[in-house]
């Protein structure tokens, strides 16, 4: 580091070795995913069957969408425990809106549009609430988001009185079961969100700011990064994406149950982020890695189930994979 030339280079773009390590990290997870896919092609019957592929992808899409928001939150050094509860909130609101008799019956698309928009905005507003606790009141993210983890699902249950809401609304259900060109609609959404956020993290000022806040908040503040606004933005976005995921889940099920929508989602999302190679300490993030992490976890679950291993045992394997992934990544950094 004594060489001034190298120091200069570091300012303009990452040193080769840092970049190499980052690439290696992405590859580590990607290689694991590849190995899983090859194993399944060889040993799991019907794995490449379009129905199997589609069912795996539709199951993983809501997790990925939530995990992308979680990646940004974690990149700022935070955590968002409330995502599962916010999914339940969005999932509870949507049927209330499009089943409402207040809306003009001859313009169904207004109802559907509002049923998509309002729940997401409400979830986003809850996310902003999380963000304001973290940014303005300096409350630790785990506690700040614990508030809505506890209260959020309760709000969803109060709104629906804990009752299951069934519906048959083909327009609304399109986001869950639509198949343009044979590809599930939520998979297209997932790919779009992953690509968009990955692009934003790489090329926009916003992306740089998110990493700067997570890397060294005090330094970022002194350097003029709008720390407060960035935190509000990432928690708001996390809430918004959780809302979207909640809508997708109820659209697939054709029913909304506030007691179960998004249950344990925060764990799956955090695990995907960690397995994907984003350190929980903040300052670095890989959105593509998160996608790969979620796919790995999904494929492990699928592989074990396809080979007759009970779901309970699959959880234990999942735990081991998470620990191993985090440990390997820690070794690489050292």
């Amino acid at each position: 580091m004594a060489n001034p030339d190298r120091t200069l280079k570091r300012v303009s773009r990452p040193v080769l070795s840092t970049r190499f390590a980052a690439v290696g990290q992405t590859y580590g997870a990607a290689l694991a995913l590849l190995a899983l896919i090859i194993y399944n092609i060889g040993f799991t019957p019907f794995f490449l069957n379009p129905a199997t592929v589609n069912s795996n992808l539709t199951q993983v899409a809501p997790i990925v969408i939530v995990a992308v928001g979680m990646t940004l939150v974690i990149a700022t050094g935070g955590i968002d425990l409330s995502v599962g509860a916010l999914m339940a909130v969005a999932g509870a609101l949507a049927p209330l809106i499009f089943l409402s008799t207040l809306l003009p019956a001859n313009y169904p698309f207004i109802g559907i549009g509002l049923a998509l928009l309002i729940p997401m905005l409400v979830a986003g507003a809850f996310g902003l609430f999380n963000g304001s606790l973290v940014a303005y009141f300096k409350i630790q993210p785990i506690i700040a988001t614990l508030v809505l983890f506890i209260a959020g699902r309760g709000i969803a249950q109060v709104v629906t009185n804990g009752a299951l809401q069934n519906f048959t609304n083909p327009g609304f259900r399109y986001i869950g079961i639509g198949r343009p060109f044979g590809i599930p609609f939520q998979v297209i959404l997932m790919v779009g969100i992953v690509a968009g956020v990955a692009w934003a993290m790489r090329t926009t000022t916003f992306g740089r700011y998110v990493l700067a806040v997570g890397g060294n908040e005090a330094a970022a503040r002194l350097a003029g990064v709008p720390v407060t606004r960035i935190k509000l933005a990432v928690y708001g976005l996390s809430g918004l994406l959780a809302g979207l995921a909640g809508l997708i889940v109820i659209a697939i099920n054709a029913s909304s149950d506030a007691n179960s929508v998004g249950l344990d989602m925060e764990l799956d999302a955090i695990a995907s982020v960690a397995v994907g190679g984003t350190p929980l300490t903040g300052g670095r993030a890989t959105v593509i890695g998160t996608l790969i992490g979620a796919l790995i976890i999904q494929l492990i679950r699928y592989t074990l189930l396809a080979h007759g291993i009970p779901d309970a045992a699959a959880r234990i394997v999942k735990a081991a994979i998470i620990l191993a992934a985090v440990y390997i990544q820690r070794q690489r950094r050292a």
């Binding site: 009141f137 506690i143 508030v147 506890i150 309760g154 300490t281 735990a319 620990l323």
Partner: protein, 334 residues
């Protein structure tokens, strides 16, 4: 501060203010608890009945035990998310072992809890992974193990009078689980205040690096607190099985977060280095009492709050406490 003579008084003034703030912070929760008890006693006829007090204590003793372990973990600057799952695992193992007598049904689960806690501590201390992710993985693994052992359903116990007494019996008019909790808290206070281990826990949480340089056995202290937390969680699981006559692999969902909420309400900072065992007990009782009073209020008939409101109120309460503590801490700093 122009003259020498004013300086000590000025200093004493700020010192007193700091002390007053800390007093409010710690005693504020106690004052709230006493106020709630007084409110309940004046408003409801059966509030002070032996039955009500005993049933509140019997149920919340489980949360008390978990929160006690959590207090020690948080004082070292860590966190233990696995406790809820360990409760479930403990209850399943206890139920499975009831045919072999009371002693194995109580001792073996606690030993298993210790092993899980020790594993948490080992991975955190020796491999240097973040407590959050390690105990999250352990949550998945312990839950998986509980489901696996219980075959995905609840396990009935062999009705052994001794074992049932452990959960449902009384000794000198006090519920046995409450006695267990009481003994644990007295031991916890002694451990924290008067033992070398307690001092070391606070030192490690205050400044781990300094502790290490001073020659404190940091790794062993971490192993100690996580082992303690695992053991207490498993003990809570034994009480759960003894109280409801079943081992319940799906019980304890989110209990870790309730425990963290109790610790935070009690005033222990999540950053570690300070804390009070007694304050945690006050926090547990306060959160328990809110439920109890809501139940009485529903019975009164003036308002009718569905059980779903309870989580909304609990979340709001956590928010208020955290905001108040934040205010007081800021005032103390300035």
């Amino acid at each position: 501060m122009a003259t020498v003579s004013t300086e000590p008084s000025a200093r004493r003034f700020t010192f007193n203010r700091a002390r007053a703030a800390s007093l409010i912070q710690r005693q504020g929760v106690l004052i709230a608890l006493i106020a709630l008890i007084a409110f309940g006693a004046l408003r409801y006829d059966n509030f002070f009945s032996v039955y009500n007090i005993a049933s509140v204590l019997r149920y919340y003793s489980m949360f008390g035990l978990i929160a006690l372990g959590m207090t020690f973990v948080i004082m070292t600057g860590g966190i233990d998310l696995s406790v809820g799952a360990v409760v479930a695992l403990g209850s399943v193992i206890a139920a499975l072992l009831t045919p072999y007598g009371v002693l194995p049904a109580i001792v073996v689960p606690v030993l298993v809890g210790m092993v899980i806690g020790w594993a948490n501590g080992w991975i955190i201390a020796r491999l240097g992974l973040l407590p959050f992710i390690v105990t999250l993985a352990m949550l998945l693994a312990a839950r998986g193990l509980a489901l696996l052992l219980a075959n995905n359903t609840s396990v009935g116990i062999t009705l052994d009078p001794g074992f049932v007494w452990f959960g449902q019996g009384d000794l000198l008019g006090v519920p046995v689980p409450a006695l267990v909790m009481g003994v644990a808290y007295v031991a916890g206070v002694i451990l924290l205040r008067y033992s070398r281990f307690g001092r070391h826990v606070l030192a490690v949480g205050g400044n781990e690096e300094a502790g290490r340089l001073m020659g404190l056995p940091v790794d062993r202290i971490k192993l100690g607190v996580y082992t303690l937390s695992g053991a207490l969680a498993a003990l809570a699981g034994v009480i759960l099985a003894a109280q409801f006559n079943t081992g319940q692999p799906t019980e304890g969902l989110g209990w870790e977060l309730s425990a963290i909420a109790s610790v935070v309400v009690g005033g222990t900072l999540l950053t570690g280095g300070m804390g009070s065992v007694g304050a945690t007990l006050v926090g547990v009782l306060l959160l328990g009492l809110i439920f109890n009073i809501l139940n009485f209020e529903n019975g009164h008939g003036f308002i009718s709050l569905s059980s779903y409101w309870q989580s909304v109120i609990r979340g709001t309460f956590l928010l208020v406490v955290v905001l108040l503590q934040n205010r007081l801490a800021q005032r103390r700093r300035s």
